[in-house]
């Protein structure tokens, strides 16, 4: 009993585990139970039970309530779908003037709004796209098709690639200096020579619309939330869910609302990119010392000046991280939104992956990553830029960048013109290198992949088989073996032990939603894959982080590596693993591990770094050796921060697991992907997305509550 009194928490946890396992063994697997694959769930079957709610019939296989809860929320997706349909097609018809037919027509309000929004987005994208690549739709938007037929000269010719390359290089020079200028030039030349110009510019035009819009909306909403408690309270739950919602899941409702194409992709990207921007804006504004605000007021700022000259610049650091996130999400979405018809590199990447042409996929992925890194660096440099008031500059010095650019434009046009003579009848390489005429390394990579396959096939296969048969399959079976009631008891118990009754209730609600949805089994598979990924990621991440922390340079180097890896769109991670492992669960899991290791490593290093220097000195003076210092001082203090890393790792892992559905997994992601091609998929996709988000939120809630308590206990911030 002494022992129990000494470690009450430990005993409580043990008790919880005992109850959990007791329940697992007490509740038998029903004889009729089997994991249902594919379309079978939608087949009508006399063995199914059914109920009717709100006029929707829900069919399901009934089991013992302890084993699997009945899908009482089964009507939700259908209902969402019908509501959406009603909103789009019937609700609040309004009259509007149709320019083309010159008459009034009626249309439902939401449809009209969506059409206007769509037209606006399309216009923005086309504008940039046609400046970069040429076209006539922008001109048509202001005139008409007839006009352009009569005046063919008005068609935008597009900029020759030389001008864009030199222009971005000059811009990079102005923002940062020689290093970035060189990088920008090289990236552009690379893109051009390797024949990725057109898709790259398409992606770029998409990003140049999506990123600034997301930034503006995020900043605006963040500021609004900072100023008004009510707005913040209203936004917060949405932000939380959006943070853990897989990007796939948003695609489906958007498809219904905005249709297919670049414009829908931009809107989706904003939906995904705005929440982190809002959160970081609020975070940054909160951290401003009150005296700085007072100083601004005493300087005679009005509210507007206070916001734009004092608050936002002072919170710049966090807002910049927000910009960074926005750019990251935009590139990630540039690929994912190819599913709903966004053109550009993402589309090529998906196509190549679909055809298993790893080489082509690699080239497209590399281009996306390079542009992402370039834009990321440029936005950073822009925010850190300084003005020189004292330089007594001549007109030439003041305007040299503009002059240079003007010169480049002329030279570029001249070159392109010369090109028309040089490459008579052929493509004008000085204007644009067409997709199939560039240098391609695809064959080289494909041969490489083939070689790897031929040479190491036996080993890879052996590893693959071992992993799947001896690790993954049993683990999956174990997860599926958990009775619903036991799982809920485990999760709620953990919530109670960590955060008391409040936490327990929140977690219980989240779990019940998933359990009562028709996809509990799939959620378990998602959870199993994510768990495997997270465990391995954490082991790697914590180890690598700790090792790198031992040396200042290696720590900085590792953080830099994390930064770069984080800029890669999530889809890119699938390329190398598919090279090695083909289309198996192993591929997905390895992608998950690589992707999720980034936050684990980063937070470990940051956490260890945040241990105060005074403590190091105190520890050294107490005569600890390196190992003792690590285990007695650094780990305990860094642990809360490392747990936040674990939280991020879980979110990252879930994202990747869902994306992995593209390769073919049997979890929630597969259904989301399926919903994309389903006419009535919007409700299903959305509900599935919420399910995944809730899995993330369960862990998020538990970990955050624990970290907050622990931090208070340790007296850190």
């Amino acid at each position: 009993m002494e022992f129990v009194k000494k470690y009450p928490k430990l005993f409580q946890w043990l008790f919880l585990l005992v109850v959990f396992f007791a329940l697992c063994f007490a509740i038998d697997v029903p004889e009729t139970y089997k994991f249902i694959r594919g379309q079978a769930e939608f087949v009508k079957d006399p063995n199914q039970s059914s109920f009717v709610f709100l006029g929707k019939e829900v069919r399901y296989y009934a089991f013992d309530v302890f084993w699997r809860l009945p899908p009482l929320l089964g009507w939700l997706p259908i209902w969402i779908n019908d509501s959406l349909f009603f909103l789009m097609n019937e609700w609040m018809p309004i009259e509007f003037w149709n320019e083309d037919t010159q008459e009034y027509r009626t249309r439902p309000l939401v449809l009209q709004i969506s059409r206007n929004l769509t037209a606006f987005m399309t216009f923005l994208i086309e504008l940039i796209r046609e400046i970069l690549l040429g076209g006539l739709e922008t001109i048509v938007a202001f005139t008409s098709w007839d006009w352009i037929d009569k005046n063919p000269w008005a068609e935008l010719p597009g900029l020759p690639w030389t001008i864009v390359a030199a222009g971005s290089s000059i811009l990079a020079y102005k923002l940062s200096g020689k290093g970035l200028a060189l990088f920008a030039g090289l990236v552009m030349v690379y893109i051009s020579i390797f024949g990725q110009w057109k898709p790259s510019m398409q992606t770029l035009s998409f990003i140049l619309v999506a990123a600034p819009l997301s930034f503006i909306f995020g900043l605006g909403l963040g500021v609004a939330a900072f100023k008004s408690k009510r707005i913040e309270k209203a936004l917060y739950p949405i932000l939380l869910v959006m943070q853990t919602m897989p990007q796939y899941a948003v695609l489906v409702p958007a498809l219904v609302l905005f249709g297919v194409g670049d414009h829908a992709a931009v809107i989706i990207t904003m939906v995904v990119a705005v929440p982190p921007m809002i959160l970081l804006t609020i975070l940054g504004l909160r951290a401003i010392p009150p005296e700085v605000i007072e100083a601004g007021r005493m300087s005679g700022c009005n509210n507007w000046q206070l916001m734009f000259k004092v608050l936002i610049p002072t919170a710049r650091r966090d807002i910049l991280i927000g910009v960074n996130q926005v750019i990251m999400v935009c590139f990630s979405m540039a690929v994912i939104s190819a599913f709903i018809g966004a053109k550009g590199l993402g589309f090529n990447l998906l196509l190549a992956l679909n055809q298993l042409n790893i080489g082509l996929a690699l080239e497209a992925g590399l281009c996306i990553s390079l542009i992402a890194i370039l834009l990321d660096k440029m936005s950073l440099a822009w925010a850190n830029k300084q003005t020189d008031y004292f330089g007594n500059l001549t007109f030439y010095q003041r305007n040299k960048n503009i002059l240079f650019f003007a010169a480049t434009v002329i030279i570029g046009i001249v070159l392109a013109y010369i090109g028309t003579f040089l490459f008579k009848g052929d493509y004008n390489y000085l204007f644009e290198v067409p997709h199939n005429k560039g240098i391609s390394t695809a064959d080289f990579w494909n041969k490489g992949v083939d070689w790897i396959f031929d040479t190491f096939f036996v080993y890879i296969k052996a590893f693959n088989t071992w992993l799947i048969q001896d690790v993954l399959q049993p683990m999956r079976a174990l997860y599926l073996r958990m009775p619903a009631v036991a799982t809920i008891v485990l999760v709620v118990g953990a919530g109670y032990l960590i955060g008391g009754i409040r936490s327990a209730l929140v977690v219980c609600g989240l779990t019940l939603f998933i359990a009562l949805s028709p996809w509990w089994d799939r959620a378990l598979v998602t959870a199993y894959m994510a768990t495997f990924g997270v465990v391995v990621s954490c082991i790697i991440g914590f180890t690598v982080g700790t090792l790198c922390f031992q040396n200042k340079h290696s720590a900085s180097f590792m953080l830099g590596v994390c930064d770069i890896f984080q800029t890669f769109p999530s889809f890119v991670y699938l390329i190398p693993v598919m090279m090695l492992f083909g289309i198996t669960d192993t591929s997905v899991l390895i992608a998950v591990i690589v992707y999720a290791t980034i936050p684990a490593t980063r937070y470990t290093i940051e956490g260890l770094r945040s241990v105060p220097a005074g403590l190091h000195d105190a520890a050294t003076m107490s005569g600890v050796n390196k190992f003792q210092r690590l285990t007695k001082i650094e780990f305990p203090l860094a642990f809360p921060h490392m747990m936040l890393g674990l939280n991020q790792t879980i979110v990252f892992a879930l994202f990747m697991v869902i994306i992995g559905a593209f390769i073919g997994t049997e979890d929630l992601g597969q259904y989301i992907l399926k919903a994309l091609s389903d006419k009535k998929g919007a409700g299903i996709g959305f509900t599935l997305g919420i399910c995944v988000a809730f899995i993330g939120l369960i862990f998020d809630n538990l970990i955050r509550t624990w970290v907050d308590k622990r931090k208070k206990h340790l007296g850190i911030d």
Partner: protein, 343 residues
């Protein structure tokens, strides 16, 4: 006398939800305890005083005494719960937002304890900030800011960022920024408290030099009694939101109004604070020695001379006219015996 620059009449600042209602019900008799039981915290309790042109009022109090709150009421960074505040005859609490901004842009400057510099702006940009807010052209504001940079002795560092400066240098920037618009009223909220003792002394001297030149109307907040004695024309000592005593440094040292004030004065080296005129006997006696001392000499500087005299010493003013006398025993009493008197 001309109109006071700052005038407060029964100013109250009470934090809490029902503060206004409770204040009305209390009829001006605010008891901190009863308010606290009802969830209100009293910041400033019935403060009335005036500051005339060119005068430096130092508000002294320990942390939580309400001195910073009082300053924020007068600069209207927070709105006073009750009472009236006049700035050059204008009723501050009646100003609308636009007028308030106008007032701050032209009449007020403020220095903060933690410097409150804008981290993204260089020294010169920080100093030019209030000017640019006013809408002055960049070139003009920068050149004016450069003048201020020279005034506070930061030449050569105008392009540094705040993070690249030491605490003392940062506060010089804060001072320069607050002076950039050439305000009439200068608020300083514990400007030197975050600095090292040596730097603090240096900055105090620098501050006195500036004030000598600029002759602003100043409200200076500090928790350091020595600093208050050194700088002030008059000192207001605050405790729990109430001004315990408001008087010249000499009077506070010689005649502390309350037990609380007396505790502060106990450890003060009087000979360094008091002037001859504070302790002299104004009724001239005939039996005076040859030595003459100026009436606004600090005792410490002349004590040795006076103590060597047997007779009383003549005290003269700047026109060499005898205005009183002082005898050596008085000096000894003041320096060593004064503490007993007040018991």
């Amino acid at each position: 006398m001309s109109e006071p620059v700052i005038k407060c009449e029964a100013v109250y600042k009470i934090f809490g939800e029902n503060a206004k209602k409770m204040l009305q019900e209390s009829n001006g008799n605010v008891d901190a305890k009863t308010f606290q039981e009802n969830g209100c915290i009293v910041g400033v309790n019935n403060a009335s005083f005036e500051v005339s042109k060119g005068e430096m009022l130092v508000v002294m109090g320990l942390s939580g005494s309400g001195k910073s709150t009082l300053l924020r009421c007068i600069s209207r960074l927070t709105d006073a719960t009750g009472g009236k505040i006049f700035i050059e005859g204008q009723d501050l609490l009646q100003l609308n937002n636009k007028e308030l901004i106008e007032l701050r842009r032209n009449k007020m400057g403020m220095v903060f304890q933690s410097f409150a510099l804008l981290p993204h702006k260089t020294v010169v940009e920080n100093i030019a900030f209030p000017l640019q807010i006013k809408g002055i052209k960049t070139e003009d504001s920068i050149s004016k800011a450069m003048d201020m940079v020279k005034l506070v002795g930061l030449d050569g560092r105008e392009n540094y960022f705040p993070r690249e400066l030491s605490g003392g240098q940062q506060q010089r920037v804060g001072i320069a920024r607050s002076l950039a618009v050439e305000p009439d009223i200068w608020f300083l909220d514990e400007p030197f408290s975050a600095l090292d003792p040596l730097i603090r002394k240096e900055m105090q001297d620098e501050f006195l030099r500036l004030q000598d030149k600029l002759q602003k109307t100043i409200m200076f907040i500090t928790h350091d009694f020595d600093e208050a004695l050194k700088l002030a024309d008059r000192i207001a000592i605050m405790k729990d939101g109430i001004i315990e005593q408001l008087d010249s440094p000499a009077n506070i040292v010689l005649n502390p109004a309350t037990e609380y004030v007396r505790k502060f004065t106990e450890e003060v080296p009087r000979e360094k604070v008091l002037l001859i005129q504070d302790v002299m006997d104004p009724s001239t006696t005939d039996n005076l020695g040859d030595l003459k001392v100026l009436k606004d000499e600090i005792i410490e500087n002349v004590a040795e001379k006076i103590l060597t005299q047997e007779k009383a010493v003549a005290v003269i003013d700047n026109n060499n006219k005898i205005v009183g006398s002082i005898n050596p025993t008085k000096i000894i009493n003041t320096v060593f015996g004064g503490r007993k008197n007040s018991n």
